[in-house]
């Protein structure tokens, strides 16, 4: 079935190992949470189409391995992303502190105007919380991103988080950036792509090419 969507957005989930990225994604794409999840090795995506203010938006959401050892490998995939969710675990201080490093990673490898959002996951585990809501909020203000606490387990704020991120991307895209064809350099590649999308009858053909340049021997 051809182009049953108006836009295609590529999103990326990053954050330390075990913070719940895969669970968050499964909750959103399959609406399920169970105990048979396995740790992520490498990278893969899931798709879900959502309705946003009358537009059909297809979300292609990439889930990455969080372990340090995989970090440099997965950064090759940052470049095509239009939105990135930085996930930490509210019961794990280290994962929160590492958000800074993940942000630095984004700044180095993702396109400059990528939409970012910080997520404090596992907020169902209030009794084991070590990172207060305030600190999460504070950090997000510091970096100028949106912030939400979620629980993949209880399906709390998961939809909201993805919808918010998608809405921000859509807003940014529609705010006149349709005219700025080929601003090139400073704008990320998604803008060019979405420009084409906007021109093409609002039908976005999935031509956002991801780059991965590790065919180095």
């Amino acid at each position: 079935m051809a182009r049953t969507y108006d836009y295609l957005f590529k999103l990326l989930l990053i954050g330390d190992s075990g913070v719940g990225k895969t669970c968050v994604l499964f909750r959103f794409s399959d609406d399920s949470f169970n105990n048979s999840f396995i740790s992520t090795i490498g990278i893969d995506f899931k798709i879900r189409t959502i309705d946003l203010d009358g537009k059909k938006i297809k979300l292609q959401i990439w889930d990455t391995a969080g372990q340090e050892r995989f970090r440099t490998i997965t950064t090759a995939y940052y470049r095509g992303a239009m939105g990135i969710m930085l996930v930490y675990d509210i019961t794990n201080e280290k994962s929160f502190e590492n958000i800074k490093n993940w942000i630095r990673n984004i700044e180095e490898h993702a396109s400059q105007d990528v939409e970012r959002m910080i997520i404090g996951n596992k907020c169902d585990m209030e009794d084991r919380r070590v990172v207060s809501r305030d600190r999460g909020q504070q950090l997000s203000i510091e970096y100028g991103t949106k912030f939400m606490e979620t629980s993949a387990k209880l399906n709390h704020n998961i939809e909201e988080a993805f919808y918010t991120l998608a809405r921000d991307i859509k807003g940014k895209m529609e705010r006149g950036q349709g005219q700025t064809v080929g601003v090139g350099g400073t704008t990320g590649r998604y803008q060019q792509d979405s420009t084409i999308a906007a021109q093409g009858n609002n039908l976005c053909k999935n031509r956002h090419t991801f780059h991965c340049d590790f065919i180095a021997f």
Binding site: D30, D31, N34, K46, R69, I73
Partner: protein, 631 residues
């Protein structure tokens, strides 16, 4: 009033109109264009029987005979809509295959299902499946049957897309005992058992786990034992005879030489492990794996390891001296003297055991390892008791950390735990530790633990392209042109496929071969898997994400024996020394001189590919080939 959530999955062959039906239902639109689906979840609010429902509709990728049963359709699904196209005979056959797969997952219970023949607008021009046939099939499933057209969805008829979903919902609610059947139902038989009621056993079961173990541990044993049943099928019967013969041979061999010391017969053991069926029995494995691991085939050059000087192929039948010196040099590297490689809990007593555990818990990787071990549930058999599983999980973390602490340079990677879990399941705690120490003494695992992944596994994975450029240039070119890289297969060599194969037997079968082969053999298997998936790769959109996703998803029914036979063949044609040397250089030259097109590389005969295409018949051919190209 509260909204009731129900999840419905649409499955069927590609291009039958699953997405069109979904789209028609969700938004009322239809398009004549075709864009293949990977997977999509849509939602729609729907009023039925006076209640408010939120329908979540899982639109899936087109199914093929060998494709994976999608994880997303394996759990939490309340009912299925199986679609074929009335102008495509093949798609009718595919729905039957899918139905059987679902049943396998469910463990033979009935489930709410609607069979749909789509594209009925084409019936006067090109009908290939009669209505009667559809009805009959549905009857055999006790399912509802409808013929519709997503294109001409005529409102007043009783057979519209809306009815499809309404029937599905009705089936679901009926199976839960929430609605009564009306008398004029199309469905022939009544009385579908209430299988998806909230607390019935089926709901409790976790499907991925069950799925992984459908033909689990002992399926070969069952094959071997249950000869009567399989004899109807000549190929299966031949396979069965060959396997049971092999099993007897191994048994006799072990009886004969056990006393003497099996390590004198390394060649024979490797032969058993690499040929069809592998070591067949977990009992044999428990005896043979430790011997194979102790004398792993090592690389010809030093590249594979951290420059352990005595790195050569050991050809000798008698456990060679080289290995011993290898072992000693490895042991002398262990600066962490306090950790004894093998601790005997009985001798050391409870206190010492606790102390040992505490020591291990201080290891920098303990937390990460433990977190990964906690997420191995899907790899245990469903018939294993929870207590047994918990014990195994408790044993696994210290086991891994103990291996890691033998070398301060070891950096744990996620996936190493999958390897050790396999050893633990087959061998038990003590032997698993010994084998774990052995396999990290040289070879690939040592490199993965010591070097960066870019410098170890990704380099190896680049060789897949070199293999493909000679064995299947067209496929290689497609993969290169989209900048696919090697990440799609990252977990394959890293975990010896134990992270991505779905069935225990397939995993241990791979381990048999890997323990008895050259360290690069997993790379040849990777290439063989890619070639086996050729049709799928070429049928998805030629862009990185789609090809990545396609290859990254391992089909359930992958014929491991044939793939291993293919890989063996590939390795014979392109031995590791040449692959890493001349062939790699040639490949790099070719790629840089003609960035998109590869030329000047001679094509290989398409044995491997033919095998894959031949499917079941390939089994026999594979056996034949292997006996011909015996190592």
């Amino acid at each position: 009033m509260s909204v009731i959530r129900r999840k419905i999955a649409l499955m069927g062959c590609y291009c039958v109109g699953k997405s069109s039906i979904t789209e028609r239902f969700v938004s009322g639109n239809f398009s004549n264009d075709y864009e293949t689906t990977i997977e999509d979840l849509q939602t729609k609010s729907y009023k039925y029987d006076g209640k408010d429902f939120l329908l979540r509709i899982m639109d899936t990728a087109g199914h093929q005979q060998y494709s994976l049963f999608p994880r997303s359709c394996a759990f939490d699904v309340d009912g299925y809509i199986l679609v074929y196209s009335i102008d495509d005979r093949h798609s009718f056959e595919i729905v039957q295959i899918i139905y059987d797969k679902i049943r396998d997952h469910m463990g033979d219970v009935k489930f709410p299902v609607v069979l749909v023949g789509n594209k009925i607008d084409l019936q006067s021009e090109s009908r290939a499946v009669t209505k009667e046939e559809g009805l009959q099939l549905a009857r055999s499933w006790e399912a509802v049957f409808l013929e519709v057209s997503a294109k001409d969805n005529i409102g007043k008829s009783k057979n519209t897309v809306k009815h499809v979903f309404e029937k599905a919902l009705q089936e679901i609610e009926m199976s839960r005992g929430n609605v009564q059947r009306r008398s004029n139902e199309l469905r022939v038989q009544t009385g579908m058992p209430s299988i998806s009621a909230p607390n019935s056993p089926r709901r409790k079961r976790s499907y991925p786990v069950a799925g992984k173990w459908v033909n689990s541990c002992n399926d070969v044993n069952q094959d071997v034992d249950g000869g009567d049943e399989v004899c109807e099928n000549p190929i299966k019967a031949a396979q069965w005879r060959a396997l049971s013969e092999k099993r007897n041979n191994i048994n006799q061999f072990l009886e004969l030489h056990r006393e003497e010391g099996l390590h004198f017969y390394l060649d024979e053991l490797r032969h058993f492990a690499t040929t069809r069926g592998g070591l067949i029995d977990d009992d044999f494995r428990a005896e043979i794996w430790p011997i194979l691991a102790e004398r792993m085939v090592t690389c010809e050059d030093e590249d594979c390891t951290d420059a352990t000087p005595s790195c050569t192929v050991s050809r000798s039948t008698s456990g060679s001296d080289l290995q011993t010196s290898d072992f000693e040099s490895a042991m002398s590297e262990m600066t962490n003297e306090e950790t004894t490689p093998i601790a005997d809990p009985e001798e050391s007593g409870v206190d010492a055991e606790n102390e040992r555990l505490e020591k291990l818990q201080e290891h920098k990787e303990w937390r990460q390892v433990d977190m990964d071990v906690q997420r191995t549930l899907a790899r245990f058999p469903p018939n294993i008791s929870e207590q047994h599983r918990t014990t195994l999980q408790e044993d696994l973390t210290p086991l891994i950390v103990q291996i890691l602490s033998t070398n301060p340079g070891f950096n744990y990677y996620q996936g190493f735990h999958d390897v050790l879990l396999t050893f633990l399941l087959v061998l038990g705690k003590e032997k698993a530790l010994k084998v774990g120490l052995d396999i990290t003494r040289s070879g690939s695992f040592r490199a993965y633990l010591l070097k960066s992944l870019e410098d170890s596994v990704l380099k190896e994975l680049n060789l897949v392209y070199v293999i493909l450029s000679r064995a299947d240039p067209e496929l290689e070119e497609v993969m290169r042109s989209v900048n696919l890289g090697g990440l799609f297969a990252l977990s394959w060599p890293l975990t010896w496929f134990s992270h991505s194969l779905h069935n225990y037997h397939q995993i241990v079968r791979c381990f048999d071969v890997f323990l008895a082969s050259h360290p690069l053999f997993p790379i040849y298997v990777t290439a063989a898997v890619v070639m086996y998936r050729r049709a799928a790769v070429l049928s998805v959109e030629q862009e990185m994400p789609f090809i990545h996703h396609c290859l990254n998803t391992m089909p359930h029914e992958i014929p491991v024996d044939e793939i291993i036979a293919d890989a063996t063949y590939l390795m014979k044609l392109m031995p590791p020394v040449l692959l890493k040397g001349r062939y790699l250089e040639e490949y790099q030259r070719n790629v840089s001189s003609s960035p998109v097109k590869t030329r000047g590389v001679s094509k290989l005969p398409r044995y491997a590919l033919q095998l894959a295409v031949m499917g079941a018949a390939g089994a026999a051919a594979g056996y034949f080939l292997l006996t011909r190209y015996q190592i």
